[in-house]
């Protein structure tokens, strides 16, 4: 596999993880909530695609977005009691919600997995300057970049974006200025839902088998990427998500075949290293960490 091929694939995976990471970071920004259950948004979307398999593509996609949005809003309502909890308590609680949802999916659909094959044409490869690149890879990069740019634009150029950024920085003062807390939080969840649904679509094209742990498997590295990148700022968190996706992909290609099974260990060992050396995140400007103790 050529270097360029590896890089392209890595950028594609990085883009998808960046979408998920951005969703996690958006919610963290306005709520200070680290949502372990974010992956279940992806799983719900994937099952929605499975259920609408026989329907026209457009319908499938609409149902996908509607389902993920509904789940996101339900989650927002469920986690309201957590608004004043400590970060660790939030992590454990959303972990419990994640486990609960996974169990529900398991109960309803079993562990074998269902085929949500969608847009199989995207898996075909096209010849680009000597490389064989799948359409879905190009789509992932393109759609990913578009959404990331679109979200950045939304946040920086619109009033609601201004309100969200304000709430993320200083929630109480934002409220004093009339920013409606509940609306801002709900909007963040909806935005995260759009990003998650898009990531789901791209992922299902490549991995059509949907299991109860579909989303969990993605959100763990994405969450790790967010914390490693730097939870406090949207750009650093998204970059962290991208880095994890990119790094995992590269390492997967670069490691010798028998070493590949240890890929998770390598990645997680690197994560621990980063947490020890730069606890506020890789991509943040070195700031005094509030939690020095």
């Amino acid at each position: 596999m050529s270097t360029l091929q590896t890089l392209v694939d890595a950028v594609a995976l990085g883009s998808l993880y960046a979408l998920v990471a951005m969703g996690i970071a958006l919610i963290f920004g306005v709520m200070r909530l680290v949502n372990f259950a974010h992956g279940e948004l992806l799983t719900a979307g994937a099952y929605a695609l499975f259920l609408t398999n026989d329907l026209p593509l457009a319908v499938s996609i609409v149902v996908l977005f509607a389902t993920v949005a509904a789940f996101a809003l339900a989650m927002e309502t469920a986690v309201r009691p957590l608004r004043t909890a400590s970060p660790a308590a939030m992590l454990v609680t959303t972990f419990a919600i994640s486990f609960l949802l996974q169990s529900v999916f398991l109960l309803v659909w079993g562990s074998q997995g269902d085929n949500a094959g969608i847009l199989p044409e995207l898996n075909r490869a096209v010849d680009v300057g000597g490389l064989r690149i799948r359409w879905v890879t190009i789509a992932s990069i393109g759609v990913g970049a578009l959404l990331l740019a679109g979200t950045a634009l939304l946040l920086n150029r619109t009033t609601i974006g201004l309100q969200m950024r304000a709430a993320a920085h200083d929630f109480q003062t934002a409220r004093l200025l009339g920013v409606r807390a509940n609306n801002v939080i709900r909007f963040a969840f909806l935005l995260a839902a759009v990003l998650a649904a898009t990531a789901t679509l791209m992922l299902v094209v490549q991995r059509p088998l949907v299991t109860p742990t579909f989303g969990f498997a993605v959100v763990i590295p994405a969450l790790v990427g967010v914390v490693v990148g730097g939870l406090d700022r949207l750009t650093s968190a998204t970059l962290g998500g991208f880095a994890i996706g990119f790094g995992t992909s590269v390492l997967g290609d670069v490691l010798p075949a028998d070493g590949r099974v240890f890929l998770p260990s390598v990645v997680f060992a690197l994560v621990i290293l980063v947490l020890l050396l730069r606890p506020s995140g890789l991509f943040t400007r070195a700031r005094a960490a509030a939690e020095r103790v």
């Binding site: 680290v34 469920a78 986690v79 009691p81 957590l82 909890a85 400590s86 970060p87 660790a88 308590a89 992590l91 454990v92 609680t93 972990f95 419990a96 919600i97 486990f99 609960l100 949802l101 996974q102 169990s103 529900v104 398991l106 109960l107 309803v108 079993g110 763990i220 969450l223 790790v224 914390v227 939870l231 099974v261 240890f262 998770p264 260990s265 997680f268 060992a269 994560v271 621990i272 947490l275 020890l276 606890p279 939690e291 103790v293």
Partner: protein, 343 residues
């Protein structure tokens, strides 16, 4: 006199453990294993509590220590020939090791403790979210390595034919011993220093408490106790796979601690036994229990719901994180018989 008065806080958990053991030994043979399993769970949850309850730092990775303890105890009690036929690449010192039951438990505790110490030296500097993520990373690494390194264990295969020595006597003694150690620790000076640091880290540091060292001590002790629990576990099951000591167990033991009440020994024991009982009941119901026949998967959903609901609506757990003051609890009984409550 104060020491005796404090001992009543240990009496509650110990009595409950013994009660469960006695009830279990009187139950029918088919469900006796559920009782013993509950006691092993209690041991693991108490180990978890020793660190989380006293430091206030949530660790997702403690099951790593249960895992290494279980595999260690299992590997040293399975005959060499059997080990080599299942895992031909084992390191000779592991393959040739063959010890008795008690020694295997001691080895399990030692391995758990050493591993916890090595992990704890770097990790105990972290708090809150970073600690949660880092300990989760440790869990993933442990699982990944155990599953894919054929030189130290059976890898993805089951380690079979481990002597099933976890009788009622063994698991009860084990659980009570671990409870006593946990109690002794939380009453000791290091334990109280760590609890103080949990309440107010800045003040504690200002008073000269070396938080990193205290956390490391608790982490190591907790790792050793968890390893011991792993030893009890493998001798209960008679076999072990990496999946049995991975995320599901991590989730369930954390759930048990939280539902019971994270900050007290009583909470750890109550949570473990109650949730264990519920878990067993639901597992039986899924298999068809008299008139109750639940679809497969209900058990996990119920447990997940229970944990989520507790965390959302009663985060201090069933016991509110308080120890059971046995004397006070007993003193309240006269009220029920219409006598005056003591002043």
């Amino acid at each position: 006199m104060r020491r005796l008065a404090g001992l009543s806080e240990l009496a509650g958990p110990v009595l409950l453990l013994v009660l469960v053991a006695v009830l279990g030994s009187l139950a029918s043979r088919s469900i006796q294993v559920e009782f013993r399993s509950a006691l092993v769970s209690a041991t693991i949850v108490i180990a978890l509590y020793v660190f989380i309850g006293n430091s206030g730092v949530v660790s997702f990775g403690h099951v790593s220590f249960v895992a290494v303890g279980a595999f260690a105890a299992g590997l040293v009690t399975v005959p060499e020939a059997l080990k080599l036929s299942a895992s031909p690449e084992l390191y000779p010192f592991i393959a040739s090791a063959e010890v008795g039951n008690a020694a295997s438990l001691a080895i399990a505790a030692a391995v758990g403790g050493v591993y916890a110490f090595l992990v704890g030296v770097p990790l105990m500097r972290l708090s809150g979210l970073a600690a949660g993520i880092a300990t989760f990373a440790v869990l993933e690494i442990t699982h990944n390595v155990l599953r894919n390194w054929p030189k130290i264990g059976p890898g993805a295969k089951t380690l079979p034919l481990v002597p099933e020595t976890s009788s009622f006597l063994q698991v009860t003694l084990g659980a009570v011993a671990v409870a006593a150690i946990a109690f002794a620790y939380q009453r000791s000076r290091p334990g109280r220093l760590l609890r103080a640091a949990r309440e107010d880290p800045a003040a504690a540091q200002g008073s000269g408490v070396n938080i990193h060292r205290q956390r490391l001590l608790a982490f190591t002790l907790s790792g050793a106790l968890a390893g011991f629990g792993g030893g009890l576990l493998v001798h209960l099951l008679g076999s072990i796979t990496t999946e049995q000591v991975y995320i599901d167990l991590a989730f369930i033991t954390l759930a048990m601690l939280i539902v019971g009440g994270m900050s007290s020994l009583w909470g750890a024991v109550v949570g473990a036994l109650l949730v264990s009982g519920l878990n067993s009941f639901l597992a039986e119901a899924e298999r068809g229990l008299g008139s109750v026949d639940l679809p497969t998967g209900t058990r996990l959903v119920t447990l997940g719901f229970l944990m989520a609901a507790t965390l959302l609506f009663r985060p201090a757990g069933l016991t509110g994180g308080r120890e059971l003051q046995l004397r006070k609890a007993l003193a309240r009984f006269p009220e029920k018989w219409g006598k005056e409550r003591p002043a």
